[in-house]
Amino acid sequence: MSAIAFWGAVELGLLYGFVAVGVFLAFRVLDFPDLTVDGSFPLGAAVAAVAITSGWDPWLACLLAAMGGAICGLVTAFLNVRFGILNLLASILTMIALFSINLRIMGRPNMAVLNRETVVTPFYDLGLPDHIVRPLVLAVLVLVAVLLLARFLASDFGLAMRAAGANARMARANGVDVGRQIYVGMALSNALTGIGGALFAQIAGFADVTSGVGTIVVGLAAVIVGETLFRSRMLLVALLACVIGSVIYRVAVQLALSADLLFLRASDLNLVTAVLVALALILPKLRSRGEVAR
């Protein structure tokens, strides 16, 4: 694997770190299996692509993508909280609807964002090679997001959100409006994913309606890899672990693909990811069953 391929994988891993942290918030904190991200990621990309090609500031484009993502999360939460639709199904409905909406936003299936001012371009003048600058900028951005989220979850409001996901009955008995926590948590989770999509469009140079397929599995893979490597009760560590997990996952995939291992092709990526995540979900179960038997 060449240095450029390696830093490319790190870059992609950091980018999907936003998704991983969002997935962590939905799955682990709120205990809400949310597939909306498969739609909110390309939505973020689409919104940013349209905004930037219309001459908007790239930071403003990211903000717009975050707001778009937040709305996606609110729709899923609304279907679940207000009408009692099963959380997983509610998120699938939003995800499917977003495919059409993303096509509407861009007016076509894909869109180039080449030779435009992006959030990274100002830093190309620092004198470092471009393939190092991109992961550096992304690392700083994702670190800021992680720090803000960790601080949020340590607040009175964030603590209530963690309780709402862990023990809803206890949370209610302590005056926590569990429905409201789901709204806020889902909005935050998908806003992070939307930012990930916006950065993807700027760094990859395009937005594509199909780029969201499997986002949830990649995010989950990152969360699981992170949890396996860093077992910690500290929130900040757990959140950083998601980002690191995302990077490790990308590098591992890049390694597997570039080494011509097991006759793998680039197009096998989704299959490999699905198998990896399935294994990661099954192994702890098998282990605990063994413990019970003993």
């Binding site: 601080r151 607040s155 009175d156 209530a160 862990a166 009955r169 008995a173 005056g175 926590v176």
Partner: protein, 265 residues
């Protein structure tokens, strides 16, 4: 003050599974009164508590907490006035949060939760002090996960959690039933102590006749969704466990007591 008027609760109304759990209860708890509730299985004890907490919406009647009608209010909304300890020690706290975090969450019951750090130094000191008062040596384990503690320890902490924020009423639903005898005794004594020191208006369901008479200032007995006995003061002081059992037997039409549903000791 808690005022329950003409309360009626029916589960699954209009279906073959229809069950009338409460068929007319009037109950007034004065400020600072500690009422113990006994009755056989299905008498409506837990349903009465669930109605006051808001888990169950009654078909008829009204519930007022501190002068405010809360009959149809969501549990979370009325939680400002209602503190609870559940029967299941696992139900009252979050296993994956630390002792400190659980307490901090309970300390904000009924208040607006903002973005200030939940574990701020001044609050941590107060929480640590309250846990130290238990004498269970848990004040040095404030950062431990709640899930690492025994049922008895969790229930003792649940009681502390219920008394951190102000409440108009404390609801205890057989909160010692799932504990071993030693720990049940400890939690019962702790209950009496905390209720006294905080002067809490309390409604405690129990299966133990002894506990029903030893703790509190007033005892009511429910049977088939109605109050069949309501004693306080001297009359209650003179009452022995045997008298209560005899009364219990009479109410049930002379049927023998089932050990499972009632502990005499």
């Amino acid at each position: 003050m808690i005022v329950v008027q003409n309360l009626r609760v029916t589960f699954n109304p209009g279906t073959p599974l229809e069950r009338r759990a409460i068929i007319g209860i009037d109950l007034t708890l004065k400020e600072g009164e500690f009422v113990t509730v006994i009755g056989s299985n299905g008498a409506g004890k837990s349903t009465l508590l669930a109605s006051i907490a808001g888990d169950v919406v009654p078909q008829d009647g009204s519930i007022r907490i501190g002068g405010r009608d809360v009959t149809r209010e969501q549990p979370a909304k009325r939680a400002a006035g209602v503190a609870r300890v559940f029967q299941d020690p696992l139900a009252g706290s979050c296993a994956n949060l630390s002792i400190e975090e659980n307490l901090a969450l309970a300390a904000m019951r009924g208040q607006r939760r903002g973005l200030r750090t939940a574990l701020r130094p001044d609050r941590r000191a107060v929480l640590r002090q309250r846990v130290a008062e238990l004498g269970l040596n848990l004040e040095n384990r404030m950062g431990d996960r709640m899930g690492l503690l025994s049922g008895g320890q969790r229930q003792a902490l649940a009681l502390v959690m219920a008394t951190l924020a102000k409440a108009q009423v404390l609801l205890l639903d057989e909160h010692t039933a799932a504990l071993d005898p030693g720990m049940a005794e400890f939690v019962a004594e702790l209950t009496q102590k905390l209720v006294m020191s905080h002067q809490l208006t309390t409604l405690m369901v129990t299966h133990s006749m002894r506990q029903a008479l030893d703790l509190g200032t007033r005892t009511i007995m429910l049977h088939e969704g109605r109050i069949v006995l309501d004693i306080a003061g001297d009359k209650r002081k003179d009452m022995k466990v045997d008298d209560l059992v005899e009364m219990f037997r009479r109410v049930r039409g002379g049927a023998e007591l089932d050990d499972d549903e009632l502990r005499i000791g």
